[in-house]
Symmetry: C2
Subunit: 222 residues, 2 copies
């Protein structure tokens, strides 16, 4: 019975996700759903991403948290429009659902955007199941979390298009096997592009930014 219920919730979610998707298509805005555990450095990554793309792309961000507006305050420093969603208002949901995004879209003029980033609730499990109408999904993993998270949380790595390995500035202080980490990712998602970077020092950021630029250009030309 529980499975039937879950199926119903996911079907209802997909209907709204498709409406979001159609809206994004109409306005030619590229939408990326960024997911990770709590504490992977997602917010710092996105703050730096928005700052570095500010002069070339019109970007905005929706940030989801169970509670607080800390992340929105940090992201606002980039100058990009930010909407904070707190799932506390939706029963403390552990993920962003499509209807929550649909509501947040009223805060933006989509016709004036090239890129919309959605920072999901910190959680490596549940958000993987919820389509929100995005063009691409990215998972961020901190190297401090160890190598084997992709095989322990395989759905997340299977559904995401790219992986970011963050906090590589801490590698000298960790027992971390880089080849094993990459092998685990490719074990669950063959050929998955991986961006190894430090959002803090900005080492390795360029490849990630290049990927985003490419996706935005492709979406615009459609």
């Amino acid at each position: 019975m529980e499975i039937q219920v879950v199926k119903h919730v996911l079907d209802a979610n997909l209907t709204v996700a498709n409406q979001n998707r159609e809206k994004f298509r109409r306005h030619g805005v590229f939408v990326v759903n960024v997911m990770s555990s709590p504490g992977s450095g997602k917010t710092t990554l996105l703050e730096k991403t928005l700052t570095r793309l500010a002069s070339e792309l019109r970007a905005a961000i929706i940030v989801g948290d169970v509670s607080t507006t800390h992340d929105a305050e940090r992201l606002a420093r980039s100058g990009a429009p930010v909407v904070q969603v707190n799932t506390d208002a939706f029963g403390g949901d552990c993920h962003l659902a499509a209807h929550v995004i649909a509501g947040a879209l009223d805060s933006f003029d989509l016709s004036r955007l090239d890129l919309l980033i959605i920072e999901n609730v910190g959680n490596l499990v549940c958000p993987a199941e919820f389509d929100i109408g995005e063009d691409a999904k990215a998972v961020v993993l901190s190297v401090t979390e160890g190598e084997d998270k992709p095989v322990k949380y395989p759905l997340m790595f299977r559904v995401c298009d790219v992986a970011v390995l963050n906090k590589i500035d801490l590698l000298p202080y960790l027992e971390y096997d880089r080849d094993a980490a990459v092998a685990y990712i490719h074990q669950v998602h063959d050929g998955m592009p991986i961006f190894e970077l430090s959002a803090k020092t900005e080492q390795g950021m360029e490849a990630w930014l290049g990927w985003l630029r490419e996706q935005v250009a492709r979406k615009r030309s459609k």
Copy 2:
């Protein structure tokens, strides 16, 4: 409607949790449910905990993951009996539910145990809602995750009895405000005991082990 369904699932879970609790009471075994994000160092903490308590307490562990038996293999090195539960078999659940624990209990002779540790699925949101019949709940947070997770995931810190701040060996390489971290924890859970330690170097482990010993002794004397 969704809220009704969630209530039904939680009520059904509580019935089984109470059966587990009664079983634990009968055998005088102290049960602690250990929760955290993926990559907080839970498994290393528990491996060291079991190894250090091996000569004085009869301990066992149930370890939950969506997928893989990596953690069980690591924990087995301590010599304690280990049962791995994969929630893949239960629809990829993002938490351990009471019936999953009930099933795993068949693998142990509870009358021969003083301490049962349950390592939950890595997730700072969902496991907080599921009572599994435990005596105490502990949350583990890595200092690499930053200071503000307690206010962003308040339910977890509200329901847990103690917090462990792990990976303090990395503090020299992080921008981390220890006083802010403690203040955030106490903002959501006034007076919550906090154990600051490094499972890797074992610095600070003694206070955590002392807390466990005390709980076991208290349960035995009941």
